[in-house]
Subunit: 658 residues, 2 copies
């Protein structure tokens, strides 16, 4: 079963994308499960387009060859074009699979002018976290922060009986380079806790489907499992009974799932249990699980998202942005080799604009995973087009130690993201949100890749069947609606690095003061004179000083701080003139008018593609654009009205603000 | 079964309150079900305290006598003290029951110096609406706007099997004069719609319990019932098929419940179906049901809570406050005699302070019910002490046509309230919230009664068992914590008639801009210069002109408008000086500091009563005071901070505002 079944969108693997190789003579050489997967792929492709899978002694146009003596390393492959034949060689069966999908991606070019080179992923682990609940949560639903229907793994309180879609999903993920996946929400509720022990069989069933495409399965577990599941009276990480319990639990898991990947843990975070209850450090907590996993080659991903979510908004000295660094930087060097500190890319929580987390550069002796959010919690919830690759690319190319230092993509050991996939026919609700998932995989493989070519790749693959009439107009149209969509979204929502001006709870749509007097540590401090958070060392919370030079100095003063982060780092008067030369208040007005205009223009471009895109997909996106434009206007009007009422400064251009 | 059972609080009918009559010789004369109820009451009381029920020829201290030739009228009774004997006479069995409870209320005084007089209720129908759902609603829960646990009627999707608590509840209601009750939410969802037809048996079971204490049962129905239940393709009130369907449905109801009270209908309101869909008026809609009910003596209560809940906040000309009058005043005279227009007491929605609805004085040819909200949706949700009798009393004594005209209590035909009762052991969550239920019943009986004596009555009854050590200190303490609690709540929440500064959705706790940019029509329009809604005729929405003189003139200008409604009717600068002589902004600061101080002082008074009140009740109230004081401080700090940030005007008294 290679395709997802009736009515499910093929995403970036429509059959048509297999035409180039499927119409040729292909030879697959090697043994093992993943080589068999490649063989099945080839068989399928050739059956569609009249090509043939040839035997070891036959003449072929494409040779996919496992060579265990090769030097491509894990997941790597070499692609060569010579003597009228294209050859993919890999030392690792997974590499052969990735090489196969590289050939798919290249299409005809694979058989004409593909440059010879060896491809190796920059990051060993490229993981998706699913925030899927097994039992529907009364507030958060089946998928926490999910905007694409129910879970593809879980239904009616248990693992789905028919996992064909999981297989098809694994295929899509392999095709963009993802090799690890956690199957349940990091907020581990009652039912989900049992996946670790008596319900591990359900996880094993899912694992079978993922394994076929080289994806290892991970599990989110509760730090309180020894209490909740084991009946112990403590979960103290230094208690010998607790350590024994975890060892036994992990042994059991590996007995059922020999290639199990490991655990993801949200501890002492937003109400989840953790080591603080026992006066232990997070290194103690993570090492407890790492020690249990180590004999089996498993890994614990320990999230650094630890902060006081019951903060008093009156207290301006406490700064949530500081929390991860304050908690974790002192622990550098104390984590086991198989304990990975999983750090959100920004210090807050996946806002449309944040600086890069200072934790990432601050833990040289710790294995670090950078966590991105593919699901668009704060970026339009898959009702808005918001292609995030440009944002992620900025993050991954940021150099925490300045121009001479390494990029985030090189500092990170793993790249992790929260998935945007559900049981929606388009996988992601918004058909164009598929691009975010694809781009994440590709950036995890090569973090310094430019976003534009990735968009091109995705467009070519996904719209292969539509590329018949006027491919150039289609390409240009898709580029127009996607390439600048993050910048557009930023314009009509949160200006200059201010975040969290969203409706509390569900986080969709504007509410400028929605989190202003809350316990969540998310404030903008707007008053009649100015707006923003002073995070300087000199007069503010000191967060800017968590960075190494030159950033600690760059961020320290409004004069040197980049405009797009101005209000993240500084509280400034509305009439303050940043480097753009435009006052802050006028910037707010202008960007909000522009953002809506851009959203309207994008909708118009999409409309103009009606004759080029399949009607169902076109209609789905059109319907979402209606909502996007409505919501963008609501953002514009609420934000502009709020700041006009507060500042009293009229729009220089005399536009009507309500 | 007279008492509510194990662990359930006796509220204002502790056995001890029956001592005076239960220790005497009592004769009950007359026949019929309600007379039997009185007889059972007397038997129970005498069994507790050694009195005796005597035969018709025996000597007695108390005679309760049904005399159908009497002139007391429905529910009325005459109480006389003569020749060492107290006599209650009634022409109506229900009157005898109310007379019995008057004797309970009087206690020893009934047998010493009770003045002879005839008691008649001012209002014929004194009704509670239960917003109880049969099936738990995913958002609103079992009881919409309920703060006292689950429903006492419904559980697990159907009528409770054990209805003993309903009987005890009916007894409490009869003891304060309530004689009608609707058993399900005015938002009629899928399951609840069926109560009208195939599930009427469940309603009948409840009816049996309520009937024993003279309470008629009403049902909330969906205007779309002919579509939803009848399979018709219209619910058009002028369609003959629809009319026939309702007649048949009502006939069936009365076959099962011969003394059924009638319907409560929320139509064309917050998404509920109604006659507008068919281009018909609300008189058409109400009369449809009235005509079906008329042959059986039933009544339809048709709610006037009709407004545009999808308003554009940018549109300042639309004013939700105007809606009920605009919709209904033109229909005066068009409603059937058994169609009652049920009008919320204020034009908005049960805020802590609103003017009296102009609809109440504007419909002389329509039977009008005034609707109060006993459940504390916007007044502290039974976590705060907020005794509402003073507010209701102000409403009921308001004279819509000025000093020479009648009071609201005289203009109203019925008084209706949303109940605050659930399956909580104290009935109302907060033990002191019982007073609101009691006071509602008493004011429905006598709308011009002063609140203070009602509080005294309730205190004496409820705390009878506690009145042993130091009754005077207990009385004074309870008066201190209750009598001014509404004023205190108003101070720390919404100043000068501004409403809706609450958290959206659940409506608990402050969010000054929570409803400011919403579609609900609930705005304060605060900007850096001023705050309030201009509802004048001259420059505003014209709402003030919906009143008769003198109120239309009084409310028209800030100079004449009462301070407590200033911001309801006018948008004024923060430095505006109302009649109090204190600027608006200083009023905001001062009331919020005072309100918290008063809440803290009340908590202290309650603490001082620890030796006088039963430990369980004392603990429950103490726990709620913790939350009240915490929340009051949150209100104070958020509101003061919001207006300081916006106005820039410092507190004259130099207190710290965050």
């Amino acid at each position: 079963m290679l395709v997802a079944g009736n009515g499910v969108d093929p995403a970036w693997l429509p059959d048509e994308a297999l035409r180039a190789l499927g119409s040729r003579r292909v030879r697959v050489r090697g043994d093992g499960a993943l080589v068999d997967t490649v063989r099945d792929e080839v068989t399928y492709a050739c059956a569609q387009f009249g090509g043939a899978q040839v035997n070891d002694d036959g003449v072929c146009d494409l040779l996919l060859s496992l060579d265990k003596a090769g030097d491509e390393g894990p997941d790597g492959f070499t692609l060569e074009r010579a003597g009228g034949r294209t050859t993919v060689t890999a030392a690792d069966p997974a590499g052969l699979l990735y090489g196969y999908f590289e050939v798919v991606r290249l299409g005809e070019a694979a058989f004409t002018d593909a440059p010879s080179r060896t491809h190796r992923p920059a990051l060993a682990l490229r993981m998706l976290n699913h925030w899927d609940n097994v039992a529907v949560h009364p507030v958060m639903g089946q998928v926490e922060r999910g905007y694409a229907g129910g879970s593809i793994f879980w239904e009616d309180g248990r693992a789905r009986g028919d996992l064909a879609r999981v297989r098809a999903y694994a295929r899509l993920l392999a095709a963009c380079g993802i090799n690890a996946l956690s199957v349940n929400n990091v907020n581990v509720h009652e039912a989900e806790a049992h996946l670790l022990t008596d319900r591990i069989g359900e996880v094993a069933a899912i694992t079978c489907e993922l394994r076929a495409y080289g994806i290892r399965t991970h599990l989110s577990v509760s730090f309180a499992a020894p209490l909740v599941l084991g009946g112990l009276d403590t979960a103290d990480p230094l208690d010998e009974g607790v350590r024994a319990w975890w060892r036994a639990a992990v042994d059991q898991v590996y007995e059922t799932i020999p290639d199990f990947g490991g655990f993801v843990v949200k501890a002492d975070s937003e109400g989840q249990p953790g080591p603080f209850a026992y006066g232990r450090s997070h290194a103690d907590g993570a090492n407890l699980l790492a020690d249990a996993l180590a004999p089996h080659g498993g890994t614990v991903h320990w999230r650094a998202f630890v902060y006081d979510h019951r903060q008093d908004w009156r207290d301006r000295s406490t700064d949530r942005a500081r929390a991860a660094y304050d908690h974790f930087a002192p622990l550098d060097g104390q984590f086991r080799d198989n304990a990975v500190l999983q750090v959100k890319h920004g210090p807050m929580d996946f806002q449309v604009r944040e600086p890069v987390s200072p934790v990432i550069g601050a833990m040289p002796r710790t294995r670090v995973a950078v966590e991105l959010q593919v699901t668009q919690e704060y970026t339009g919830q898959q009702r808005h087009v918001c292609a995030l690759a440009p944002m992620w690319s900025e993050v991954l190319r940021f150099r925490p130690a300045g121009d001479q230092g390494p990029e985030v993509g090189a500092l990170a050991d793993d790249l992790v993201a929260v998935s945007n996939v559900g049981d929606d026919p388009y996988w992601t609700g918004h058909p164009l949100a598929q691009f975010n998932l694809y781009a994440f995989g590709r950036l995890a493989w090569q973090p310094d890749a430019a976003p534009a070519p990735i968009l091109g790749e995705w467009t070519e693959l996904t719209f292969t069947p539509d590329r018949t009439t006027d491919p150039e107009r289609l390409r240009a149209g898709l580029r127009d609606v996607l390439a600048g969509s993050w910048a557009t979204y930023e314009k009509y929502t949160a200006p200059l690095g201010v975040g969290f001006m969203v409706q509390p709870g569900h986080h969709y749509g504007p509410s400028v003061d929605g989190y202003e007097y809350s316990p969540w540590g998310t404030y903008h401090f707007a008053d009649r004179d100015g707006v923003g958070v002073d995070r300087s060392r000199a007069t503010g919370t000191g967060y800017a000083a968590q960075y190494a030079k030159p950033w600690s100095e760059t961020y320290e003063t409004p004069d040197t701080c980049p405009d797009e982060l101005l209000l993240f780092f500084h509280h400034v008067p509305y009439e303050h003139v940043p480097r753009s030369g435009k006052t802050v208040i006028q910037h707010i007005y202008d960007t909000h008018f522009e953002g809506v205009e851009e959203a309207e223009a994008a909708r118009q471009v999409w409309t103009s593609l009606a004759d080029l895109v399949s009607p169902a997909r076109h209609a789905r996106v059109t319907e979402r654009y209606e909502e996007q434009v409505r919501c963008a206007r609501e953002w514009r009007d609420q934000v502009n009205s709020y700041f006009l009422r507060k500042s009293g400064v009229p729009d220089q251009k005399g536009r009507h603000i309500h």
